[in-house]
């Protein structure tokens, strides 16, 4: 029990310390984490089902400007173990994940607020032309400082979480669980809307509507959608005059 909680704490640390770009963006996804959680708790089947369910909810969790809209890694590291141990269904896992993901954002805000201090020390190192010192501030120190911020919450949630959740679930009225499930289903909207804002071209809204209703009416697969998307982009840019205007 304590060993499993320690392992999940470590897993959450690895998933969120952000070493190596690309890897760090995918290891924090519930689907990836589910495999390791499945190994830790010896129940791959349940872990994968929970991970895949959470993944669909967090598919749009894109982090523009580094601001994560919700912490899908903490949600996975708490909700999947609890679901496995408490033998509850994916709907309950979603209901647990939604508020936990929101709490996880606070951890990231704490981290990025603290790291402002590192930049100020780096200013001094730069004045001294201490390149090595800057590299330590960019890598080693943040990795060390972030350890308690990541490890402790995930460890505690796993150590005390199952009992707490089990007694909690008995007391919570049904509409709350149902409401959190509804929220889990709407949550992807935030990620998609955010991406639309980053793309920043309001006159491209018709492409959004088109993509939406192509799927809504036909139910075509995601690969099919990508084919259409790239062809449309090629056609659109082909008929664009090659101007140097900057827009958006």
């Amino acid at each position: 029990m304590i060993i499993q909680a320690v392992l999940v704490g470590l897993l959450y640390y690895v998933a969120t310390n952000r070493i190596w770009y690309g890897f760090s963006m995918l290891i924090r996804q519930p689907l990836s984490l589910a495999v390791f959680i499945g190994l830790i708790f010896g129940d791959m089947q349940t872990a994968l089902i929970m991970g895949a369910t959470l993944q669909m909810m967090y598919l749009g969790a894109i982090a523009p400007g580094g601001n994560i809209p919700t912490d899908e890694a903490l949600a996975a590291c708490v909700a999947i173990p609890i679901a496995i141990q408490a033998h509850v269904g994916p709907e309950i896992a979603v209901a647990i994940a939604v508020p936990i993901g929101l709490l996880g954002v606070l951890l990231d805000e704490l981290r990025r607020t603290l790291f402002t201090g590192l930049v100020h020390v780096a200013d001094k190192r730069a004045e001294e032309a201490d390149a090595k010192g800057i590299r330590r501030l960019a890598f080693l120190y943040p990795l060390l400082f972030v350890f308690p911020i990541r490890f402790i919450p995930a460890f505690l949630a796993n150590y005390y979480g199952v009992d707490a959740v089990q007694s909690f679930m008995g007391a919570v009225p049904n509409w709350v669980l149902q409401g959190l499930g509804v929220a889990g289903n709407i949550l992807p909207a935030l990620g998609f809307a955010l991406t639309m804002v980053i793309i920043g071209k309001r006159n491209f809204i018709p492409f959004f509507i088109l993509g939406f209703f192509v799927v809504a009416y036909t139910g075509i697969s995601i690969v099919g959608i990508a084919i259409f998307a790239f062809c449309m982009a090629a056609i659109y840019t082909h008929f664009q005059p090659n101007t140097q205007q900057r827009q958006g």
Binding site: N17, R18, W20, Y21, G22, M25, Q29, L31, A34, L48, A52, Q55, M56, L59, G60, I62, G65, G66, N67, P69, G101, F115, T116, V119, A126, E128, A129, A131, K132, I134, L137, A138, V176, G179, L187, A189, L190, A193, V197, I199, F208, I209, G211, F212, F213, V215, A216, S221, I222, V223, I225, A226, A229, A233, A234, T237, N242, T243, R246, G248
Partner: protein, 282 residues
């Protein structure tokens, strides 16, 4: 700045130096992310080895390190091209001689960095996380649901390899392009075309993903003396999935009109869902 002693000449940069700088960039990029200057520390750290080789004079090195500690933020995979260009520009600045026609100074370097970081972040997020990641997830989630742990890990593996290959290539490409003339590239309209194309792909994908993954229906009914009318089936007769469409466009409008306060938005969504469930709308 031009008073150089012979042994203070910049060292020649090798391909290995660029690769080493890329490895540092990929390793550091988000580790030290802070609210004040975001990826500045990571960018400076990735550039530091290069700068040590270029600026043998302590004051020059200090100045170079300081100029790369200014606020920086982009998407790190596609943003690799900016690092490559910056290295080339620093190399030009360090070896600047009187007969050079194009002078590279601090303003040029910072200007190009900050000018490129926004649009490239837009392309990168759209392609990597708005398109590639959902495609991979869409392909492998069904296999994971059927119990395949390998399938659950494949998005991680594929995207890690993809970003590494892309990032490495763009880093070196940025360097070679920047050595010639970055200004030509910026004015050729090619970049604009890529941004436009990525915008089309992104918007279309967001629409498709919204229809696939945002789910919202209502169990509400209107009971008349003749029959029970289900609101949802009335809505479906107009067009499918209208409620999810309203949800996404609603959040979009909020983001544009009010601003990106994520915690507030998620909080709102949860509250609305809870309230809706309590009174039987959802």
């Amino acid at each position: 700045m031009n008073q150089k002693v012979v042994n203070l000449e910049p060292e020649k940069l090798t391909k290995g130096d660029i690769t080493k700088s890329w490895i540092r960039w990929f390793a550091y990029s988000e580790v030290s992310n802070s609210y004040e200057r975001l990826q500045a520390l990571a960018f400076c750290g990735a550039m530091s080895g290069i700068l040590e080789k270029l600026y043998k004079n302590k004051e020059d090195l200090a100045l170079a390190l300081q100029r790369h500690l200014t606020m920086y933020n982009t998407q790190c995979n596609w943003g690799s091209v900016i690092n490559g260009i910056s290295i080339a520009l620093e190399e030009k600045a360090a070896s600047h001689t009187e007969e050079d026609d194009e002078e590279v100074n601090e303003e040029v370097i910072t200007g190009i960095k900050t000018g490129l970081m926004g649009p490239i972040a837009g392309i990168g997020d759209t392609i990597d996380y708005g398109t590639l990641r959902p495609i991979l997830m869409g392909i492998f989630i069904p296999f994971a649901l059927a119990g395949s742990a390998i399938a659950a890990l494949l998005p991680l593996i594929i995207q890690t390899v993809f970003t590494a290959v892309m990032g490495y290539t763009l880093y070196h490409k940025g360097y070679t392009v920047g050595k010639k003339s970055i200004i030509d590239i910026l004015q050729s309209g090619k970049i604009q075309q890529v941004i436009t194309g990525a915008g089309v792909v992104g918007m279309f994908m967001m629409g498709a993903l919204s229809a696939s993954y945002v789910k919202l229906t209502t169990p509400m009914t209107i009971t008349t003396s003749v029959k029970v009318l289900e609101i949802q089936s009335v809505i479906d007769k107009i067009a499918p999935k209208l409620l999810p469409l309203v949800a996404v466009l609603g959040v979009y409008l909020y983001l544009i009109k009010v601003g990106p306060n994520y915690v507030k938005i998620v909080g709102f969504l949860i509250l609305i869902s809870l309230a809706g469930s309590a009174i039987g709308i959802f």
